[in-house]
Structures are given as C-alpha cells and as structure tokens.
Amino acid sequence: MLTQLVNQLTGGDNIIGYILQIAWILFFVVFMFYGQRIQLYVMLREIEGSLSRLKLLRDEGRKNAIQTIKELGKSEGDPTARVDQFLEYLTLQPQSMDPAGIVWKLEHLLDVRDTRFEDEVKIMAPAADLTQTRDLENTLEAALALNFIFKVIRHFYILGKKTLSLYIIMQLQMVLPLIMREAEAFASALKAFTFGQPIGDGAGALVAAKLMQGHEKRKIPKDCVVATIPFEGRTAHIIKAEGPGGNVGKPGDAVKQIIEENEGKIANIIMIDAAQKLEGEEPGEVAEGVGVAIGGPGVDQFKVEETVLKYKIPVNAVVIKEDVGDAVSPMRKEIFDAVSVAIDRIRRVVRERSKEGDAIIIAGVGNSIGIGQ
C-alpha cells in the first residue's frame, strides 16, 4: 500500500498523480525561494491575532473607565475626551547618569504623578467620594496600562511589517505570550477596580486588617493607618494602607514614622506582602524570609532599609505567593485562605524573634481596595 501511495504522490498514471506531482514541485520551488517570507507571514498572522485581542482589551478598558466615571462622577459634560487624554499620560523616568539621590527624585516624580492623577479624577468625577475616587484612579491606571501595551505591540508589529525584518517579528512573537498574560491580568483588574473588589495584591493589607480588627486606629502619612495592639505578649504596631478605596499608601514613610516615634526601640519588623510565585508553585503558598517585602518602584523599600540600618532593627518577611494575573484580579479563595496561614506564621516569627514586652511592627503591604480596617 505504501508503494502505491508513493506512486500516487510521485506521478501515477491518473489525473490526481499529475496534480500532486505539480503540487510537489511548486511546493519545493516556493519553499526554496520564499520559505523565510512564508515563516514571517505566519508569525505576523499570529501577532495580528494577539493584537486584535489587545485592541479589544484596550477598548474594553476605555469603555469601562468612561462608563464608571459617568455613573459615579456625575460630571456635567462628556468625560470621553478627558479619559482619552488621560490614557496617553506618560511619566518620564529621572535621569540616572549621576545615580546619587535618584530615589528622592523618583519619589518626587511619583508624588507629582499621584497628585496629578487624583486631580484629573476629581475633575472628571466631581461627585465621587474618596473611596470611589481612589477606585477610579486604579481603573484609569489599568486602562492606561492596556493602552500602552497595545500601542507598543502595534508599533513593533507595524515596524516589522514595514521592514519585513525577521528578527523584529521573531522577538515580538517570542515575548508575546508573556505580554498577553500581563494584558489579560490588567483586563481582569479593570472589573475589580471598577467595583472596588479586593485583589490578590491586597493579601498583605488583609493580614494587617484582620490583626487590627476591633482596635483603635489612627491615620499616618501617607494614606496609611496604624493600630497598636497587644500581640503574643508584645506591643505590635500594625500598619496598612487606608481602605477600602484602591490605595497602596506609602508604607515606607509609615514604618519610618513608627520607628522614629518609638526612638528606634523596635525589636523586630515583620512585613507581609504578595509575592510572585514561580510556575509549579500553588497560589496561596506562604513563605518567610528576611528583608523588606515591598514591591513597586523601590522608593518605600529603600526608605525602610535606610531606617532599619540606622537603628539596626531586624526585618523579617512573610509572603503569600500568587502569579501576576492573580495579583490584580479579584482575590482568589486560595489567597484569601492563605491569610490565616500567614497570621499563624507571623505569630510564630514574633514568638521566636522577639521577647515578651518588646515593641514590634507588623506591616501589611499591598493595595487596600475592597478591604476596610
């Protein structure tokens, strides 16, 4: 049968044989001269598919933001033009030729950016309260991120198409699965931010919120709250970003202030944050270690490191593992359940790493959206 099949494919005495023979020759000629180009078009088509999805996500983000602003903000005019302007907003990184002092320059720029975002939202949605304003800010930031991703990918797609450079297209195609994961994560974040649902990144804040429940709280700069509670025979200062609006606060400033208030007499600091899990690890796994567990641009981490170095305070970290998608999506049950496990770990660390009567700091880092205190 195989011999017959080979005969058919290489030229039998019937019409199909002739057609297949011509098709084979054409196939070889075309692949000899246009193989790379065909490969290029196949890759471009794959990128096109992803780009269509990115466009859909971007448009959905924009629509969502406009709709929510109209619903909550009750602005007089149509906010569409203002939202479109916002989506093109950019933050220029500080110059790092002379890196000394760059942290403070970056902090200043981030402060200006935050203030500008807040003002923009207040103009677009004058009727929104503080919680809604913060949620809207987060929604717009997610929409901005989606717009940016779409534009960058479109740029390289068009550039690759114009130049027909295999290397530009190949690089784009190779990195695209990771970028798509990130874009999908921001798309899920949109709904969470719009409705004010707790997100995976808020795991640290939720730990702190559970610990400070039923105790008196006070506000500390910037946008954080602290509660001083008895904990395992120690005095614990529990810190988190003020909720339930979408807000990460400045945990660096908050921790620094509490240390200064106690004149450096802090026996231990425990920081709880969400950390990116590796593939193969389960979401909600709890791990512990040493160091300042604060994500983001690094300004807050730097500040805490400077202060603990000054007073020689040991810093421990408890992290709840999750992937990039879970971090900005509505909180998964596994992550919610991991909060109790993390609290047990904190109790153990406190018992082992400090003495009764000591003062300690427990800082829950992360976005407090959907999490009260």
Partner: protein, 129 residues
C-alpha cells in the same frame, strides 16, 4: 484617541480561505477517484487515504479560524461575598455587590438582630487538571 489608525481586525484571510478550499476540492477529487477505482475492482486505498486526510486537515483548519474568532471576548469572573454575624455565627453567602468591602458593617442579623459584617470577598477558580 484616533480610531482610524490601521489595526488588524477580526477577519479570515482570503489566501488562507483559498488554500482551504483548494485542499477541499483536491480531497473531493481524490475521494471521487477512489470511488471509481473501487468500482472498477481496483485498489483505491491510497486515494481514499489522501482524500480523507485532506478533508480532515481542511476541516481542522476551518475549525481553528472559528476558534480564533470565538476567543475575542472577556470572561466575567463571579465574585462571592460572605456576610457573617460575629455573635451567633449566622452566615449569608451572595454575589458581590458594588460597595461591598471586607469588614463593612451591614444589615442586622435576622437571628439575633446584631450588626453583621462582610467576612470575605473572593472568587473561586476552577482548577484545570
């Protein structure tokens, strides 16, 4: 934001469609030839194989284009709010509503009339095996 900038849309390439149609036509001819061979009491198995595989291949390609079109949607994720009475332990589980947040004090408990609060807000993810 300009919408007239050239961006690829959700569409099936004509070239791709033409390739599928040619494959389909060739497969049909091969199957027809196989029938003739069998009719004349000759062995047409190889033609049947070529025609059959061509048919399966083109059907698969068509299905793939359909799948690509269907993927263009954003899935909604159901989020659950659990309201708990700290005094008597009465629990109410419902869908998330805008304005819910963890530790929010809401309606009095229907059993003991004590204030209830939101104990948890989360989404359940189906595990893929």
């Amino acid at each position: 934001m300009s919408n007239e900038v050239e961006t690829p849309r959700k569409r099936i390439s004509y070239l791709f469609l033409a390739i599928i149609l040619v494959t389909l036509a060739l497969s049909a001819v091969a199957l027809y030839q196989a029938l003739i061979e069998f009719d004349n009491a000759r062995d047409g198995t190889s033609l049947l194989l070529i025609g059959g595989s061509g048919f399966v291949l083109s059907a698969y390609m068509l299905l793939q284009t359909r799948r690509r079109t269907m993927r263009l949607e954003i899935k909604e994720q159901p989020v659950i709010t659990t309201i708990l009475c700290q005094k008597c332990g009465f629990k109410n589980v419902r869908d998330f509503q805008r304005g819910d947040y963890i530790f929010k004090q809401i309606d009095p408990c229907p059993k003991c009339n004590e204030k209830m609060s939101v104990a948890s807000i989360y989404r359940e993810v189906e595990q893929k095996h």
